[in-house]
Symmetry: C2
Subunit: 158 residues, 2 copies
């Protein structure tokens, strides 16, 4: 039962093929609706010495979710750019004791129209993304990340 949208399924395959750590984390695409992108990861390969999720795993999955959100927004408009993570701020709020999900959204105040207008004008644009992590089935936010992603196009998109 894999009813993911095709671009998300393709992105999941790309990430797992190209980034060995994403395979080690066993990250899986979970949902995407343009405004939100979710990735899942099991606890077992991401556990630390205390039996909860390793901070580096949480950051990795949140960073991949944010990167994927921007990447799919570009792909949906047929734009081929490289997307890099710039700065990020992480807060670890409560330990994660089970399989978890990371959800990425554009920051409040940011919007895709402005992002793509800047990209068309300059061949480069920044997107501020907010991510949260929660245990599967729980509404409690366990960790947050705010990150700046930069898209750079070899040629200015149309």
């Amino acid at each position: 039962v894999n009813d993911l949208p095709a671009p998300l399924r393709t992105l999941e395959r790309f990430i797992r093929e190209q980034i060995p750590l994403a395979r080690a984390i066993d990250v899986r695409a979970a949902a995407h609706d343009g405004d939100m992108l979710a990735l899942d990861a099991p606890l077992a390969p991401n556990v630390n010495d205390k039996g909860c999720a390793f901070g580096g795993s949480l950051v990795s999955v949140m960073t991949l979710a944010g990167w994927s959100l921007v990447e799919l927004a570009l792909q949906a408009r047929g734009i081929d750019c490289d997307v890099y993570v710039g700065n990020s701020e992480v807060r670890y709020l409560v330990p994660v004791w089970s399989d978890f999900r990371a959800e990425a959204r554009l920051d409040a105040g940011a919007d895709w129209d402005r992002f793509f207008a800047t990209l068309a004008e300059r061949g480069k644009a920044r997107a501020e993304v907010s991510c949260i992590v929660h245990e599967q089935g729980s509404a409690t936010v366990a960790a947050t990340l705010r990150a700046r992603f930069v898209a750079k196009c070899a040629t200015t998109p149309p």
Copy 2:
């Protein structure tokens, strides 16, 4: 030729046994002198789709270096506490195209005396740690992390 200090070698083994992602990253202890702790990682298992180091790997190694610095400071004083990462701020400055090293130090302005005085008084203390990543053999700082680590003791240390 493994001439690491014994506590650092033991810590390396502990991290690789207890944290599967540390094994996937293939992190290795490199140096420790009380004020600075260094961990190494090869590029191959940490590469991204562009052929440089994945941001999540850089954060993971920097976070492990900071955690290890605090952990070994506690061990050197015979104190048994849990150490957690709290908040962190990451800057990705330039891509990392080869094997890399993360170095962790106490923040300028912080000192171990105050940290251990607070820990003795309250059974809990915060250490602000700065980490940098650079390619092996290069002095160029490729990424930085500032992180707060919290040590919590089950019993107040002597």
